[in-house]
C-alpha cells in the first residue's frame, strides 16, 4: 500500500461525492425539499475533503521521493531542494489538473459556508453547476490523466524539474494563474443558476459581482506574476510576448473587466442584462479555452512543456459548456427585457458601453490573431505566426482609446450630462495633458506613438486625481484634514474610489509599457577579459567567468563592473545554471540593476573558457512602474472587494441623518445625502 493508492481511492470517492452532490442539489431545488439541499452542501464539503486527501497523497509522494509514481519520477529528483519538489506538484499536467480541481472544491466550500448571504433560491443551482465542472475535472483525473499511475519497477532517481521552472516565480506564478482560471467558474455558476431560476435581481448582481471581482483580482495577480517570471527568467529583456498562452490568460481578464463595468449599468438602470450574462459565460468559456490551449499544443508557444493529448477532452467540455449555456440563454431571453430606456450617449451608461465595446474589441482582435495560424493552416496555407507587431499595431490604438475613455467616463453623470458641466470638469486634465504634450517633445521624447500615449495617460491621471481632490476638498470644508479626508473618502465609497485606484494603477502600468516599448535600448556584446561595452549612460567592464559546482546545480557566472556616468556603481554576476538531466538547457540567472526607474538588464548569452563571454545588455526604462502599477491595481481591486460591515453601514446612515437634520440647510444637503445613503445601501 502506497500513498499514491490512497490518492486513487480519494479521487474515486471525490468523483462519487461530486456526482451525488450534483444530483441532490438539483433534486432538492426542483422538488423544493430543503433537507436534500443541506445534504448537497455537506456533499460539497466531502468532495473538498477527498480532494485534499488526494493532494496530500501526491504531496507526500513527492516529498518522500516515491519514484514508483510516474508523475513524481518525471517531475522531480533527489537533488532538488524541497521547495522545488513541492512546487513540482503543479508543474506537469496531471498535478495542475488536480490542483485546479482542489481549488475549485475549496472555492465551492467557501461558497457553501457563506451561502447564507447569497439568494437562497440560487444556492442549490450554484452548487450543482460547480459540481458539474468538478465532475469533469475529477473524471479526467481518474481516467485519462491520473497523477497516481505507478511504474512496475520504480527507478532509482527521477528526471527532475524543467530548468525554466526552477525559479522562485515558479512557486507562485502557475498556482495563481490556475486559480485565476478556475475562479471564473463561480460567476459562471451564478449565471447558470440565475438563468435556471429566472432570478436576476439586485441581490444576485451583488453576489456575482463580488465573486467576479475576486476572480479578476486573482487573475490580475497571475498575469503580473507571469510577466515578472518572463522578465526575470526568459532573458529576452521583455515581459509580454503576445504568446498564445499569455493571450489565453488575458482573455478572461479582459472580458471580466468589461463585465465589472457593465454590471454597474444593470445595477443602476436595469439595462444590459443579456449582454452581462453573455460576458460571464464568455469569461468562463475563455478560461476553459485557455486551459485547453495550454494543454493541447494546438498553437506553438513558449509554454510548450505542457503538451498532451488531453486537449480533446477539454474541447468536448468547452462545447458542452457553450451549448448548455446557449440553450439556457435562449430559454430565458423573454425575461431579460431592459427596465429603463436609454437617454443620451453622453452619459455614464454611454461611457460604460464604450468601455465594453473597446474591451471586447481588444479581446476579439487578440483572439483572432491567436487563432489565425490555425485558420490559415486549415485553408491550406503555410502555418503563419502572428507575432507581437500585429498585436501592438491592432491592440495598441484600442488600448489608448480605452485609456482616454477611462478619463472621461467617470466625469459623466447617469442618464445625461450637460455639456458645459462636463467641459468644466475636463478643463483641468486637458490643461495637464497639453502641458505634458508641450514638455515631452522638448525634453527629448521624439517617438510619436509614445508622445500620444503619455499625453493620454496624463489626461486620464489628471481627471482621476482631480476627482479625488474635489472629493477631499468637500470633506475638508466640513472640517477634516486632507489625509483623513482621503482615507475616509476611500473607506466610505469603496467601490468608486477602489475603482479609481485600479485606474491609476493601470495608468502607471501603461506608462511603464509605453516607456519600455518605445525607449528600450539593446546591445549584443562579445567581450574578452578587460573589454567594455557602453550602453546609454552605462559602461560595463568584463572581468571573467567563474564555474562553481553545487550538489544540484553547476553555475557559470560572469563578473562585470558597472560604471554609471563615470562612477563605479556595482559588480554584477549574470549567470547560467546547469541542472543534471538538462545539460543542454541551461537556465539563466539574469542580472537586473534598477536605478532611477531604469533597469539595466544583463543576460549571459554564451561563453568560451574563463575569459570570453557574450552578453545581451538591455536598458529598459520605466519597467519598475509596471510592477508598481500592477500592485496598485491589485490593491484597488481588494478595496473594491473588501466586505463592508453592516454595523458601520447603519452607523453611517445614522450619522448622515443627523448631519442632514442639523448642520446643512436642506436644499444643499438633499442631493448629497440622498444618493449617499442609496449607494451605501447598495454596496
Amino acid at each position: 500500500m502506497h500513498f499514491s493508492d490512497l490518492g486513487v481511492i480519494a479521487l474515486i470517492l471525490a468523483l462519487g461525492f461530486a456526482a451525488y452532490t450534483l444530483l441532490a442539489a438539483v433534486l432538492g431545488a426542483a422538488r423544493a425539499f430543503p433537507p436534500l439541499v443541506t445534504s448537497a452542501k455537506r456533499g460539497g464539503l466531502a468532495v473538498m475533503f477527498c480532494l485534499l486527501l488526494a493532494s496530500a497523497a501526491l504531496a507526500i509522494s513527492f516529498l518522500s521521493h516515491d519514484f514508483g509514481v510516474v508523475y513524481v519520477a518525471d517531475q522531480s529528483n533527489r537533488s532538488m531542494p524541497w521547495y522545488f519538489v513541492a512546487a513540482a506538484f503543479y508543474s506537469g499536467q496531471e498535478g495542475s489538473l488536480l490542483y485546479w480541481a482542489l481549488m475549485l472544491s475549496v472555492f465551492s466550500s467557501i461558497f457553501i459556508f457563506t451561502s447564507r448571504r447569497a439568494p437562497a433560491a440560487l444556492v442549490p443551482y450554484v452548487i450543482a453547476t460547480l459540481m458539474g465542472i468538478e465532475l469533469f475535472f475529477v473524471l479526467t483525473l481518474v481516467t485519462v490523466s491520473s497523477p497516481f499511475v505507478r511504474f512496475p519497477h520504480a527507478p532509482a532517481d527521477g528526471a527532475g524539474l524543467n530548468p525554466l521552472l526552477r525559479d522562485p516565480g515558479m512557486l507562485i506564478h502557475p498556482p495563481t494563474l490556475l486559480m485565476g482560471f478556475m475562479s471564473f467558474s463561480l460567476p459562471f455558476a451564478f449565471a447558470v443558476a440565475a438563468m435556471i431560476t429566472g432570478r436576476l435581481d439586485s441581490e444576485w448582481l451583488r453576489s456575482i459581482r463580488r465573486w467576479t471581482l475576486a476572480a479578476w483580482s486573482i487573475q490580475t495577480a497571475g498575469l503580473l506574476l507571469g510577466m515578472w517570471w518572463s522578465y526575470h527568467v526568459l532573458g529576452w529583456g521583455g515581459y509580454w510576448e503576445w504568446d498564445p498562452v499569455e493571450n489565453a490568460a488575458l482573455f478572461p481578464w479582459l472580458v471580466s473587466t468589461a463585465f465589472l463595468h457593465s454590471t454597474m449599468v444593470q445595477e443602476r438602470r436595469g439595462m444590459l442584462k443579456v449582454w452581462n450574462l453573455g460576458l460571464v459565460i464568455a469569461a468562463f468559456a475563455l478560461s476553459i479555452f485557455g486551459t485547453f490551449e495550454v494543454r493541447s499544443g494546438l498553437i506553438s508557444s513558449v509554454h510548450s512543456f505542457a503538451y498532451s493529448p488531453i486537449g480533446g477532452y477539454f474541447l468536448a467540455f468547452l462545447c458542452v459548456v457553450v451549448l448548455f449555456s446557449l440553450g439556457l440563454f435562449i430559454f430565458r431571453l423573454p425575461k431579460l427585457r431592459p427596465e429603463q430606456e436609454f437617454d443620451s450617449v453622453v452619459s455614464r451608461e454611454g461611457s460604460f458601453l464604450l468601455n465594453n465595446f473597446l474591451l471586447v474589441g481588444i479581446t476579439a482582435a487578440t483572439l483572432w490573431g491567436t487563432l489565425f495560424p490555425l485558420i490559415s493552416q486549415s485553408f491550406g496555407h503555410v502555418s503563419e505566426t502572428v507575432g507581437a507587431p500585429f498585436y501592438n499595431q491592432v491592440d495598441g490604438p484600442i488600448f489608448v482609446a480605452l485609456l482616454l475613455a477611462m478619463g472621461v467616463g467617470p466625469l459623466l453623470a447617469w442618464r445625461r450630462t450637460a455639456l458645459h458641466a462636463l467641459w468644466r470638469n475636463l478643463l483641468t486634465p486637458t490643461l495637464l495633458a497639453a502641458a505634458c504634450a508641450l514638455i515631452l517633445p522638448l525634453a527629448g521624447v521624439r517617438d510619436v506613438a509614445a508622445n500620444i500615449g503619455f499625453t493620454v495617460c496624463a489626461f486620464t491621471a489628471g481627471a482621476i486625481l482631480y476627482e479625488l481632490w474635489r472629493g477631499m476638498r468637500v470633506r475638508h470644508k466640513h472640517g477634516e484634514p486632507y489625509p483623513v479626508a482621503l482615507v475616509l473618502l476611500i473607506q466610505r465609497y469603496r467601490r468608486r474610489y477602489g475603482g479609481y485606484i485600479v485606474h491609476l494603477g493601470l495608468i502607471l502600468l501603461a506608462v511603464g509599457i509605453i516607456g519600455s516599448h518605445a525607449f528600450q535600448q539593446e546591445h549584443d556584446a562579445n567581450l574578452t577579459s578587460g573589454q567594455a561595452v557602453t550602453i546609454g549612460d552605462y559602461r560595463l567592464v568584463f572581468f571573467g567567468n567563474a564555474d562553481t559546482t553545487y550538489p544540484d546545480v553547476e553555475t557559470i557566472a560572469a563578473q562585470l563592473q558597472v560604471w554609471h556616468n563615470g562612477q563605479l556603481e556595482d559588480f554584477i554576476y549574470p549567470a547560467r545554471n546547469f541542472y543534471p538531466n538538462f545539460q543542454n538547457e541551461p537556465a539563466s540567472a539574469i542580472s537586473i540593476t534598477t536605478d532611477n526607474l531604469t533597469d539595466l538588464y544583463v543576460f549571459l548569452a554564451d561563453w568560451q573558457g574563463p575569459s570570453q563571454a557574450s552578453f545581451r545588455v538591455f536598458l529598459n526604462p520605466l519597467v519598475p512602474l509596471i510592477w508598481c502599477g500592477g500592485l496598485l491595481m491589485l490593491f484597488g481591486g481588494i478595496i473594491c472587494w473588501w466586505p463592508e460591515r453592516r454595523r458601520r453601514r447603519i452607523e453611517y446612515a445614522r450619522e448622515l441623518l443627523s448631519a442632514h437634520r442639523q448642520a446643512i440647510p436642506p436644499q444643499t444637503a438633499a442631493p448629497i445625502a440622498a444618493p449617499a445613503g442609496e449607494e451605501e445601501a447598495r454596496a
Binding site: 431592459p338 483572432w368 485553408f379 503563419e384 505566426t385 497639453a434
Partner: protein, 175 residues
C-alpha cells in the same frame, strides 16, 4: 457662458501650439535613429527559425544572434529596413516574417479586426437606437412630460438649467 467661451479659445490656442511644436519636433527636425534602434526594429519583425513563437530581437539562440549581425551589416552597407526584410523573406521564405505580410490571404488577418470593430460599432449604435425607440412602454409620468415638453418655454428652460447646474455641482461623488 462668456467665461467658457474664453477658456475654449484658450484651449484652441494651446492645441495649436502643441500641434506646431509636435509638427516641428517630430516631422520637420526628427532625430536620426541609431543603428541599434534600426537593427532592433528589423529583428523584431523576423521570426527566430529555431524558437517557439519568438522574434529574432527577443531570442537568445545562436542563430538569432547571427541574424542580428547580418541585419547590422546590411544596414551599415546602406540598405533600407524594408530591403533587409525583403532579403530575409527571399532567402528563408515569407514564413520568416513574424507577422503575415498584408497581402493575399493574409490580408484577412489585418482586415478582420477592423471588420469586427466596425460590426461592433454598428451593433452598438443599432442597440442604442433600439433602446431609445422601443424602451419599455411606461405609464406617462411627470418625468416623461418633462422630457417631451418643448424647451422654448423660458420658465421651464430656466428650471432645467438650474437642475443641470445643481446636478453638476452636487454630483461630485455620486454622479
Amino acid at each position: 457662458m462668456k467665461n467658457s467661451r474664453r477658456s475654449l479659445l484658450l484651449l484652441l490656442a494651446l492645441l495649436a501650439l502643441v500641434g506646431a511644436i509636435w509638427l516641428y519636433v517630430l516631422f520637420v527636425a526628427p532625430q536620426p535613429r541609431t543603428l541599434d534602434q534600426q537593427v532592433d526594429d528589423v529583428a523584431s519583425q523576423l521570426k527566430c527559425p529555431v524558437c517557439q513563437h519568438e522574434s529574432v530581437a527577443d531570442s537568445s539562440a545562436a542563430i538569432a544572434q547571427q541574424m542580428r549581425q547580418v541585419i547590422r551589416q546590411q544596414l551599415q552597407s546602406g540598405r533600407s529596413e524594408q530591403q533587409v526584410l525583403r532579403y530575409f523573406a527571399d532567402h528563408y521564405g515569407d514564413d520568416i516574417l513574424l507577422t503575415p505580410p498584408p497581402q493575399g490571404f493574409h490580408l484577412l488577418a489585418w482586415l478582420m479586426p477592423v471588420a469586427l470593430l466596425l460590426i461592433g460599432l454598428g451593433l452598438v449604435s443599432f442597440v442604442l437606437r433600439d433602446w431609445r425607440l422601443k424602451g419599455r412602454p411606461r405609464p406617462a409620468t411627470a418625468d416623461d412630460s418633462f422630457a417631451e415638453l418643448p424647451l422654448d418655454d423660458p420658465e421651464l428652460e430656466s428650471y432645467r438649467a438650474q437642475l443641470e447646474r445643481e446636478l453638476a455641482e452636487d454630483d461630485l461623488l455620486f454622479g
